[in-house]
């Protein structure tokens, strides 16, 4: 009886310990689980579900500045900018000097067109981290939007010291100089924006057009404005196709158009994903496998490029260009024998295409076979002149 009593007293004394041990770590375990899932989903690009997970984690443990930052980033990705700002501000309350949250906050305000609100956190970023190129960049852009051009110039210049080939920054600097009526410097910066920017970057052409007009050079101005309009149309088309593929995920025509546009713009990484989607919708279309092969080739993934080209040939063995692509990839891999065989097949199917001969000529030259190299080069020149 006495032993029983001892056991009961002992258990009673231990109860609070058991209570703590079960409840607290259990909650923390759930918190960890949500955070982990949130990360995985965020890395997969599934921001909506990542948001739910981070929110759930923060319901359990609310005082995590880092997770609040990730939550804000997920919101921002989904363009819920007000929610993003709310998360960033909660994060900053917990960790006031966190450079990256301050930067994210500035960007969110900027994207909401609240440029005046963006300035303060971004100024804090560059004060805390004087090498923060992105901080200077967005701060400069905000100042341009606020028409504080004279203040924007040194900020944007600093951004360019830190990150010299940033086309967008050159464009903003050009805009600032344009409004400060320093047209020659503006032109210089717009040209740099074109040099370093993506192919068919429209905005700097508008800047150039305006600057030339103010300098009285109407001809140059008109030419630049025409380019601006053309590139803007292309961009609008890109936007249209992107929206269409988002709203109608099975619209093959939209995916095809988008793939072609991405290849033209040399955005091969994105093109791969789009071609893969096209293949998912229409697996037996050689054109898509061919496009995929060319995108892989441009990103220097020869093994994948060969696989895709072979698949295209399997689906459409009579098309010369497919063999030419296969030959090019083999040549990239240094596999001259297979490359020659593929190019020869291309020539056999379409002997009138000069570039197949040029490819053969280059390959033979590399192998030291000058006779065949010259022979194919002559054919190439002949066919080219005939085409002209």
């Amino acid at each position: 009886m006495r032993n029983w009593l001892k056991i009961v007293i002992l258990l009673w004394l231990c109860l609070p310990l058991f209570g703590n041990a079960e409840q607290k770590p259990g909650d923390h375990s759930r918190y960890v689980q949500h955070v982990e899932r949130g990360f995985v989903l965020m890395f997969e690009g599934n921001n909506q579900e990542a948001i739910s997970e981070f929110e759930a984690a923060l319901t359990i443990e609310s005082q995590h500045a880092e997770i609040l930052h990730y939550l804000g980033m997920a919101y921002a990705q989904e363009e819920f900018l007000n929610k993003a700002i709310e998360s960033y501000e909660r994060s900053i309350t917990l960790m006031p000097d966190n450079i990256e949250v301050l930067y994210s906050l500035g960007v969110a305000y900027f994207n909401l067109d609240k440029w005046a609100d963006a300035v303060a956190p971004l100024q804090q970023v560059v004060e805390l981290s004087p090498e923060h190129a992105r901080g200077y960049e967005v701060l400069g852009k905000s100042l341009v939007k606020l028409r504080r051009y004279a203040e924007a110039v040194p900020v944007l210049k600093e951004a360019l010291v830190l990150k010299p080939q940033a086309a967008g920054t050159y464009y903003e600097l050009g805009t600032a100089y344009l409004n400060l009526k320093e047209y020659a410097t503006a032109i210089e910066n717009f040209k740099q924006a074109i040099t370093y920017g993506p192919a068919r970057y429209a905005d700097p052409h508008f800047g150039l057009g305006t600057a030339y007009l103010r300098l009285g050079d109407r001809e140059k101005s008109r030419a630049e404005m025409q380019l601006f309009q053309q590139y803007q149309k292309e961009y609008a088309e890109y936007e249209r196709l992107t929206r269409l593929t988002r709203n109608e995920p099975n619209n093959l025509e939209a995916w095809t158009g988008l793939a072609a546009m991405l290849m033209t713009q040399k955005k091969y990484g994105q093109a791969i994903q789009v071609f893969q989607k096209c293949i998912e919708l229409d697996p037996n279309n050689a054109h898509f496998h061919h496009g995929l092969s060319r995108a892989f080739m441009n990103l220097n993934y020869p093994k994948h490029a060969v696989e895709a080209a072979r698949k295209a040939i399997q689906l459409n063995p009579g098309e010369a260009i497919l063999y030419n692509t296969l030959g090019s990839v083999y040549a990239m891999q240094g596999n001259s024998q297979n490359a020659i065989a593929a190019f020869q097949k291309a020539v056999e199917l379409d002997g009138e295409q000069p570039y197949y001969h040029l490819n053969l000529s280059r390959l033979y030259e590399g192998m030291g076979n000058q006779r065949l190299a010259q022979e194919h080069y002559r054919v190439y020149e002949y066919l080219l002149s005939k085409q002209k």
């Binding site: 960890v32 982990e36 990360f39 890395f43 990256e100 992105r134 830190l162 020869p302 093994k303």
Partner: protein, 284 residues
């Protein structure tokens, strides 16, 4: 105090048995960290054709250093953790890995150290990793050291070469470790030029450096005149650089140049670390 031992043989047997049981329990734990010597020299860092923060390609000179052949394992970390537990005071921060009871292949600490001694330790913050390294008389590799050990002199896209092969534990479904960690060294074909294992996939690895998206540009500016010497990254930041990709990542994120970042105090199931150590210069 003298300890008498009536029978030397039996004493010896007991000691052997104890050692054996420790070895069985913790696998490789009794072994010293296996290090690879990376000789001094210049290598190419970054890439011109990949993400913006990897640009540009530039030359960097590094003195000779050692790098862990494997990611630090549960068994290895357990020794450190155990020692801290026994010295526990409120003043000393405890470097205990996060528990992942929701991930059956990892589970709770320290049970997971016993069940999976040869798996990379995860759930450790940057601070935990740095403390462990200091305890071992070593340090975390700088970003430059990590990259050189992974890509070698031949600018490999992945540690094993330029082809996208299933030689690493990634999110892909063809590597034999779907949705889970793998024991360290499970992909011998995936070893780097220098012989370091798992530099792609399995777990991201903490490096010593702060993250900056323009760091490579900075390095390259210095390299324009002569290769940057032993760079140690930006002086400040919010995020520490993690490298190599993990079991939850696509193989494209596991390349030798892909850079990523995480808050240093976060403990996740996909970030671990490996050790590094400066090699003493040979006396003339």
């Amino acid at each position: 105090m003298n300890i008498s031992c009536p029978n030397r043989n039996s004493c010896f047997s007991i000691v052997c048995l104890l050692l054996f049981s420790v070895c069985i329990r913790f696998g490789v734990s009794a072994q010293e960290t296996e290090l690879i010597l990376i000789s001094a020299g210049t290598f190419t860092m970054g890439s011109d054709s990949r993400a913006a923060d990897e640009r540009p390609m530039h030359k960097v000179y590094l003195d000779a250093y050692y790098i862990g052949k494997y990611e630090v394992t549960n068994a290895e970390y357990y020794e450190f953790w155990k020692l801290q537990e026994s010295n526990s005071t409120d003043m000393v921060p405890q470097h205990t890995p996060e528990n992942f009871s929701h991930l059956p292949h990892i589970g709770d600490w320290p049970t997971r150290a016993e069940q999976f001694p040869n798996y990379p330790v995860v759930g450790v913050s940057w601070h935990d990793a740095a403390a462990y390294a200091a305890w071992k008389g070593m340090r975390l590799p700088t970003e430059a050291e990590w990259e050189k050990a992974a890509r070698g002199y031949t600018n490999r896209i992945w540690p094993w070469g330029g082809a996208m092969e299933p030689h690493a534990n990634t999110a892909a479904m063809d590597d034999g470790y779907e949705n889970r960690l793998a024991p360290v060294g499970s992909f011998p074909k995936g070893k780097s030029y220098y012989g370091a294992m798992d530099m792609a996939g399995n777990v991201w690895e903490w490096t010593a450096d702060w993250y900056s998206d323009v760091y490579y540009w900075y390095s390259s500016q210095a390299a324009a005149k002569r290769p940057k010497q032993n760079p140690t990254g930006p002086t400040a930041g919010s995020w520490r650089v993690i490298r190599g990709g993990s079991w939850i990542d696509a193989i494209t994120r596991c390349s030798t140049t892909f850079r990523f970042y995480l808050y240093p105090n976060l403990k996740t199931s996909f970030v671990g670390f490996r050790l590094a150590k400066t090699a003493e210069k040979a006396s003339k």
